[in-house]
């Protein structure tokens, strides 16, 4: 170790971080533009770009300025090097697995969907996950390969066959870069799964008597060399809510029951990651008896036969009395949320929750501490995937800056 001058290192690191962030925002900038944008001098900007280029994080795009900018010398555009790699954003539901590759700009550069047959999914999910990732890998490699070297297409097509695509060329850290066609490594994966997730292991867990949709799965082991972050889909959906408050709860009422807790601006997961697993909260059941939330649906005969899931379709066809009973039960859960989380608002999502917001609101209005309710934002596309994407982008960017 050389004597290390911590303070000076810190200053330099800060400058480099500013440059990287500016390039993430604007995609490409000349050194002069960087200086103006960040508020540093031109020589400093130039030095930082030189350092970052040496580290492989930044590259000259080859593009030159003169885009009708009038007279003056042409400038060189720099951008984040494509070789820094991508992140995977993955959602796992009973219906299938969706995998997307996103780059540092948040663009989706590849997408793969694997449907799973509902009746046999417990076995197929792991295979679907592997295949979906491999497929997205190939697509992303092709994408970058066609830019650098069209011939690489043949090479990566062979990787379709199996999981070899993952352990081989495209895994993070393996920036061998021997040939002309340098692959983009996968730096990390963020996964949203439609079941409770254990915080420490990242495994899907089956809570007693609670709906269990995807089944036993260990995504961390399946994607082994890659850094993997797994969490409940409801948490990710909450992350995607627009204009979200610093303190709110996202109550998901669908085939499964879930709740995301956002407190002081961040998702709170609890000790083992199971904060928001509402199945066993005591609430008012039919007849005014105190029962766990999930049992309300059993007692009303609304659980899917042979499964732990709630039958949302049949639930929506129940008579007013049952709907009122459900509204009352949900309002009991909301009372507990109000007591322990004190949210500014409660967002109601899921397949059947928004349809019952009238009944829920009426019951909540009668409680001693009413709270504003809101239906989850529809948005475009899958809100879970949107949240997973946002997290993947954040972490991908952070991994470059660190």
């Amino acid at each position: 170790m050389e004597p290390t001058r911590p303070s000076q290192d810190l200053v330099r690191a800060l400058t480099d971080e500013h440059v990287l962030r500016a390039l993430m925002r604007h995609r490409r900038l000349t050194r002069a533009e960087l200086a103006a944008e960040i508020g540093i001098s031109k020589p400093t900007a130039g030095e930082s770009v030189r350092r970052l280029t040496e580290r492989g994080l930044v590259a000259d795009t080859g593009e030159r300025t003169q885009g009708g900018r009038g007279r003056g010398r042409v400038g060189s555009y720099y951008a984040i090097a494509p070789t820094v790699g991508v992140a995977l954003a993955i959602t796992i539901t009973p219906a299938g697995v969706v995998t997307e590759c996103i780059d540092v700009y948040g663009d989706t550069v590849a997408r793969a969907v694997r449907q799973v047959d509902r009746t046999t999914w417990p076995r197929q999910v792991a295979a679907a996950l592997r295949e979906s990732v491999a497929e997205a890998c190939v697509a992303a490699d092709l994408d970058s390969a066609t830019v650098v070297n069209g011939a690489a297409a043949v090479n990566s097509a062979t990787a379709v066959g199996g999981a070899a695509a993952m352990g081989g060329a495209a895994v993070a850290g393996g920036a061998e870069g021997g040939g002309a066609a340098q692959r983009r490594p996968i730096r990390l994966a963020v996964i949203g799964a439609a079941d409770p997730v254990d915080r420490s292991s990242g495994r899907l867990v089956h809570l007693p008597d609670a709906p269990f949709l995807v089944g036993e799965l260990d995504p961390v082991a399946l994607l082994d060399p890659i850094e993997v972050v797994v969490d409940n889909d409801v948490n990710w959906a909450a992350l995607a809510e627009p204009d979200r408050a610093r303190d709110f709860a996202y109550l998901f009422l669908g085939d499964g029951l879930g709740c995301a807790i956002v407190s002081d601006g961040a998702i709170r997961r609890g000790h083992s990651g199971l904060a928001g697993e509402v199945a066993h909260v005591l609430t008012t059941g039919p007849g005014g008896r105190s029962v766990p939330f999930i049992d309300v649906f059993r007692e009303l005969g609304l659980r899917r036969p042979g499964s732990t899931a709630i039958d949302g379709d049949r639930l929506l066809k129940t008579d007013p009395a049952d709907r009122e009973a459900i509204g009352s039960a949900v309002s009991g859960v909301i009372a507990a949320i109000v007591a322990f989380v004190d949210p500014r608002e409660v967002v109601i999502g899921g397949t059947w929750g928004p349809a019952l917001i009238e009944e829920i609101g009426e019951a909540t209005g009668r409680s001693p501490r009413p709270v504003p309710l809101r239906v989850a934002a529809a948005g475009i596309g899958d809100p879970v995937l949107a949240g997973v994407r946002a997290e993947a982008l954040d972490r991908l960017r952070a991994s470059l800056i660190a």
Copy 2:
């Protein structure tokens, strides 16, 4: 504005912060010791001390080294300047008001206690708060004045009469320093009150049908020029728990009901500061009906007549059936805590809670997601005051470093 060199300013600020923190830890250090402690060079330490002395944050204590340290030149001890001031740590309960002055080292330099008559407290609390603060101010001023100049004692004794002591000499920012006896300003106050506290206003609020012990009070207005932080006493008591987990809940079961939520290592207060107000959580009441937690005590006839408080003394004399009913009701509340907070453990405190931990534990053990219970640490002295002190110390230190 001069051109400002942001990066270098940052480095200097960091060095000064390190020096201040080292002095807070060790109370007094020579410049050579500072350099060794922080890992900076001697000239840098000397420069930082010079800057901080100029800003009035650090002062030469007059003490010299040679405490049997063997041969060598004597060094000058520096310390945080006494004139930087103190913070107030205050607890407000139905029994009275306790005010302590603490310095940057966490030492209590003055203490004042004002008892309040239980039967007439609603009016007297505000007066008691004012008097208690004034008394502590005088004591603290005497303390510092005797060090600097004994004659100042007469001067501050006159301040006992009323709130003038606060608006006058001892208020933060007024570092007039005209005479030789420079007072220590009060930089801030942290208050623990035995009732729900509104997060935005700092006022004590009365939730419908919940126990209300202290009564309407606006501590922020009462201590006006000083920065004031007010929070529920249960939250502060949780802060004082030794070896606390990153995720736990502190359930307070006494005359009032309360719960502190610690998630990801910090106390979570919710949108309006009412997170943990458990009175209206639905739980299992006598006979298995779903009732709000607080109503369990009404139905069992355990609320104090003419008041909203729970009668802890009578509660402890109930028969086994009632105790079991209470244990069951508490376990329902704990089930909700487990669902929304997912704590590593639940700490039971308050006047009667620990006595019923057997019954509570038994009922909790039967739930689908049992959680370890623990009786709140006894500790020495008032746990609430300990937590308030800790927060006051933190904020006092932060106010110097910023």
